[in-house]
């Protein structure tokens, strides 16, 4: 049987080489033809290896080695491949056959054995054939030992062992060879089953033992025989024996380990939550805390009258999950739920408080051990693993749309020691998932450490911090609005229930956060000289803030600080001005509807600080004065610069230099518009746009360029009917303001303001 199966193996190998024959039968002699043939192959990268394997499967016995570049070239290629990615099963068969048949010099054969590292499995038949070559007895002893050690080292990778057990007798026959005996004993030890223990074998072993003394390898094998058939081995065994065979080769093991590591590294970047358990890699034992445990059912005895339900790992589809939702048992380790997407769906419905406590204990422990207690291990593998773990946590929390409390607790501690660099993207993502922080803690836990990092880091770090805080604010607001809907939370403060208390607490925290970001952005923009990217992140934050009442039904109004407003108004890029217009538009909508709400409800349920209106109005006036009325640097424009200083700028008419035509952000639109209106004019007179209908057309033109924020701002704040001044200048839509008394808010806004 052995014979036939190894023949079939050989048949397979020759079949495979026949296929290659058709494409490159003369290749070995004709290089150019071979290249041409190779080009036809679909995968060019694999071609040289296919050729090499074909070569080794066909090479004739007695092929000279010295000066045989072809042989050595193929050998090099295969060696590189073997050490880099391991050899596929077929290649292992071919190379083992080549080495064992000793077709070239035995030095070549032992070289082949030394780099014969399988990628996945070793086909059993290859090993069986190896033994048949061993039986030919023409092999030098060093080669025999090398082969046996190779088999022992790769034993766990042999796909199946039944045929090897079938040739147990053949293998046993080598036991008489003194130098092979230790290795043969070891191999027999691994292969022996009860049926193999026969009186004649026991006699043989005892015989050898008599000759060679009580060698540990013989004793181990005899001990195993005694375990299987105590009646056959009468020898008394010492109760304590030196354990183990010491036959493995460290170089092979190291190569295998390196291969495994590399393969694990290749899989690591894939961040999707795989169904089923992620295979743990060969991490050192004491650092296993970053492994997500396997989904296993809880121990039977864990509950006195445990009702056996369905284990999560038995389910393979979402439908199955739905069908069994009520009978699913929690796994032995809650952390294992993070290992599969299906389990996460289930986690979403778990109500058990202690289950979450278990999960949090596990997760908190892993995070603490890795990032707080453990010695810093900066090796690339470790960093990659840590970053993979954090990314997994980020995607899990996004999936659940909620942060774990252990992540939160960990982050507060980690922020105190963080350098702002280690795993930055993940840490900031996790930070943005933190649920609402009570206002009494928020400064020490969050603001102080973030502020230190913020002011000492690059502008890009500043941007990512603002982005993180924006996302945090959005999540808090979303949580609040959902919570308010679900529980019918009355947002009025008259109701003195628990929830209204919590609303004031919530308002407090949100207010603190908004004020904090206000400070960060103002000072940051100053430090970074109004960096455009930072400005955009700041405006992104205030887009959320301006809409808190309408979008998230939170009665809180905080205006953006001057440190953000003016840099945006005077920015050189039109997008910033446009976004500012949108933000002002949203503020107005929010304030107006809050005002209406107040009127409807009569009693003072929504309290809006008077100063908010004042601030809004002064911004509004400033914006209209600059963009529309060409009154930059005037009394009400918000920016006052002494005449002397303005003189020194040598700008002719400084009052109009920030109107929609001359504003540096819109200047090129103005020129574009000018050219379209008067294509024949050689010199450009931008002021002519202000005349007559052109102004309106120009504004329309700007709207068509995608400045929707600006359009909303202008439509709401500027009354188109009052467009003309008596002097004929198109001086513009007034802000619907023109206050009669300075303290009175402007325009439309006057109706929203408190009287």
């Amino acid at each position: 049987m052995t014979r036939s199966s190894s023949l079939s193996e050989l048949g397979r190998a020759t079949n495979c080489s026949d296929e290659h024959d058709s494409s490159c039968n003369v290749s070995s002699s004709n290089r150019s033809l071979r290249l041409a043939e190779n080009a036809k192959r679909k995968s060019e990268a694999e071609a040289p290896f296919l050729v090499a394997f074909k070569y080794f499967s066909q090479v004739k016995a007695g092929t000279p080695v010295n000066g045989n570049d072809e042989l050595l070239g193929h050998l090099d290629r295969v060696e590189r491949m073997a050490l880099a990615q391991g050899l596929p099963p077929d290649a292992v068969s071919i190379m083992l056959e080549f080495a064992m048949s000793l077709r070239c010099r035995s030095s070549i054969s032992s070289r082949v054995l030394r780099f014969l590292i399988p990628a996945s499995v070793v086909p059993q038949e290859a090993v069986v054939r190896g033994f048949s070559w061993l039986c030919t007895q023409k092999m030098p002893q060093s080669m025999q030992i090398l082969f046996l050690r190779w088999v022992l080292t790769m034993f766990d990778m042999i796909d199946c062992k039944d045929n090897l057990r079938a040739i147990y007798g053949f293998i046993f026959s080598f036991v008489i060879d003194e130098s092979l005996c230790p290795f043969i004993c070891h191999l027999l030890y691994l292969l022996t089953i009860k049926g193999h223990v026969k009186p004649f074998r026991v006699r043989k072993l005892l015989d050898i033992q008599g000759r060679m003394g009580k060698q540990p390898y013989l004793m181990q094998l005899l001990a195993l025989y005694k375990v299987f058939c105590p009646e056959m081995v009468t020898l008394t065994m010492p109760s304590r024996m030196r354990a183990g065979f010491k036959n493995h080769s460290t170089t092979w093991k190291a190569a295998l380990a390196a291969l495994k590591r590399r393969n694990a590294g290749k899989e690591a970047p894939s961040m999707e939550l795989t169904l089923g358990v992620r295979k743990s890699n060969s991490r050192k034992r004491k650092f296993h805390h970053l492994e997500v445990p396997a989904l296993t059912p809880a121990m039977e005895s864990s509950g006195p009258n445990a009702r056996r339900g369905v284990c999560l790992q038995q389910l393979s589809s979402f439908n199955e999950l739905l069908d069994n939702l009520n009978s699913i048992e929690l796994p032995a380790q809650m952390g294992s739920l993070l290992s599969s997407a299906l389990a996460l769906h289930y986690l979403d419905c778990v109500q058990d408080e202690s289950a979450f406590l278990r999960l949090n204990f596990w997760l908190g422990h892993a995070l603490h051990e890795e990032f707080l207690f453990g010695p810093a291990d900066g090796s690339p593998e470790n960093m990659a693993e840590a970053s993979h773990f954090l990314s997994m946590l980020v995607s899990t929390q996004h999936f659940l749309q909620e942060g774990f409390s252990s992540t939160e607790g960990f982050l507060f501690k980690f922020l105190q020691v963080w350098d702002g660099f280690l795993h930055r993207p993940q840490i900031l993502e996790l930070l943005s998932d933190i649920p609402l922080v009570p206002s009494s803690y928020i400064k020490d836990a969050l603001f102080e450490p973030l502020m230190q990092l913020y002011f000492t880091s690059s502008v890009f770090f500043k941007c990512s911090v603002i982005e993180c805080l924006t996302s945090m604010l959005r999540k808090w607001l979303t949580w609040h609005s959902i919570c308010a809907q679900e529980e019918g939370l009355d947002i009025s403060l008259n109701n003195r229930s628990n929830m209204s208390l919590s609303l004031s607490g919530f308002l407090d925290s949100v207010l603190k956060l908004v004020q904090f970001v206000g400070r960060l952005t103002s000072a940051g923009l100053q430090l970074e000289r109004g960096h455009t990217l930072l400005l955009h992140h700041a405006l992104g934050f205030y887009e959320t803030v301006s809409d808190m009442f309408l979008k998230y039904s939170l009665p809180l109004f905080v205006m953006l600080p001057p440190g953000v407003f003016y840099p945006a108004l005077l920015a050189t890029d039109p997008v910033s001005v446009d976004r500012l217009g949108y933000i002002m538009f949203r503020y107005r909508q929010n304030l107006t509807s809050a005002k209406e709400e107040q009127k409807k409800q009569k009693e003072l349920s929504i309290h809006i600080n008077r100063s908010v209106y004042q601030e809004f109005n002064s911004y509004l006036v400033a914006m209209v004065a600059h963009l529309w009325n060409s009154r930059s640097f005037s009394l009400r424009s918000g920016i006052q610069v002494s005449e002397a200083l303005l003189e020194r700028t040598k700008v002719g008419d400084h009052s109009n230099c920030f109107d929609l035509i001359h504003h540096p952000a819109f200047l090129n639109y103005a020129i574009d518009f000018h050219q379209q209106c008067w294509p024949e004019r050689a010199d450009i007179d931008l002021n002519s746009i202000k005349a007559g209908k052109y102004w309106e057309w120009y504004v329309e033109f700007l709207f068509t360029q995608g400045f929707a924020g600006l359009r909303d701002f202008i439509k709401v704040n500027i009354n188109p009917t009052v467009t003309r001044h008596s002097d004929g200048r198109p001086s513009s839509g007034q802000p619907l303001s023109q206050p009669s008394q300075p303290s009175q808010p402007t325009a439309e806004a006057s109706s929203t303001a408190l009287s």
Partner: protein
């Protein structure tokens, strides 16, 4: 049920009608603004302790069991609360653990096999090793190896032992745990690393807990040095041995042996004479250690305070910075275990 505090009850009550999933906060309270006390404090290291008093522990606890605890040097770990750990099932656990050990031992790669021995595991409760009602009873585990070819006279050899304990654990913390959890935060082991690893693995899989190694702080060592010295009048400590490592190139190890009586004299000088209570403050401890260090400086001109105190040993016991402890005199065990329990609880991820 007795463990459940009033706060907790209200939590569970609330979460039943609230759909919001509490990944957010485990002890997520009525409003989301109530924190677990101390959650945001990183450390809560006490500034004063009770002076070590001789407890005749053998009066409360079976002397044979105490003898097992004082025999070895223990490697310390901390462990998060055990879920569904039941004192009534200790025999079942013993069976499971021994089966697990055998299975795991057989799993190695082919090249590392040997004739494996069987294991016999015993779990026992050290009754009486508690100080407050919140402390869970100490659990003692022993692993015996059973050689396959044991001769008649061979007694099973103890290859590993360990115990889980909680002495004077922070009541606020212990009471905040739901009743399904048993908190035995301190895990002491003695035996091969590989067996320790397997035992931890089994605990992690069975009780959904996590282990971490518990290394101590030089402060803890100073506390123990002072507390042990304070016992000298009742129980001769013979000598106080201290070992420092100084950050020189190469690192300089300094060990100093102070005569027990001298150490006690210094300690008495440091303690204010009119102390009515038995408490020891951190200032006194610091003062005591500074006294020893300045004495050393006078002779050798080396500032020991620039180094790290690595080891403290007396006739009552010894302790090493990397989390190894040996208790020689059971009378003062409670004091030492209280300190270590506290260190272990401080490592809990929820604190």
């Amino acid at each position: 049920m007795d463990r459940r505090s009033a706060v907790n009850t209200s939590v569970t009550h609330h979460t039943t009608h609230r759909r919001s999933k509490s990944y957010g906060r485990t002890f997520d309270a009525t409003s989301r603004f109530c924190y677990t006390p101390g959650q945001l404090t990183i450390t809560r290291i006490p500034t004063s302790r009770e002076a070590a008093k001789a407890h005749k522990i053998t009066e409360k606890v079976d002397p044979e069991q105490v003898a097992l605890l004082v025999k070895n040097e223990w490697k310390l770990s901390y462990v998060t609360p055990l879920y569904q750990f039941r004192y009534t099932l200790l025999n079942v656990y013993a069976k499971h653990l021994s089966a697990f050990l055998v299975a795991e031992k057989q799993q190695g790669t082919a090249v590392e096999v040997g004739l494996e021995t069987g294991f016999k595991v015993t779990f026992s409760t050290v009754l009486g090793m508690v100080e407050t009602k919140d402390d869970a009873e100490t659990v003692f585990i022993q692993i015996h190896s059973k050689p396959v070819f044991a001769s008649a006279g061979d007694t099973p050899r103890v290859v590993w032992s360990g115990w889980l304990t909680c002495i004077n654990g922070d009541p606020e913390y212990l009471q905040s745990l739901p009743p399904e959890f048993v908190s035995l935060p301190l895990f002491c082991t003695s035996g091969t690393e590989s067996l320790t690893f397997l035992v931890k693995l089994w605990f992690e899989r069975t009780f959904d807990c996590s282990f971490g190694s518990l290394s101590l702080d030089p402060n803890d060592l100073q506390w123990l040095a002072a507390l042990w010295t304070g016992c000298h009048s009742d129980n001769n400590i013979r000598s106080l041995k201290l070992a420092w490592t100084l950050p020189a190139q190469p690192p300089l190890d300094v060990s100093l042996t102070v005569n027990g009586q001298d150490a006690w004299d210094l300690w008495e000088k440091v303690r204010p004479g009119d102390r009515a209570d038995d408490s020891v403050s951190i200032e006194e401890v610091k003062c005591f250690i500074t006294g020893i260090e300045s004495h050393f400086f006078r002779h050798f001109k080396i500032h020991l305070s620039a180094g790290v105190l690595k080891k403290v040993s007396t006739a009552l016991g010894s302790v090493h910075l990397d989390g190894k402890i040996k208790i020689t005199c059971s009378d003062y065990m409670i004091t030492v275990m209280t300190l270590l329990t506290e260190c272990a609880i401080l490592k809990m991820p929820t604190i």
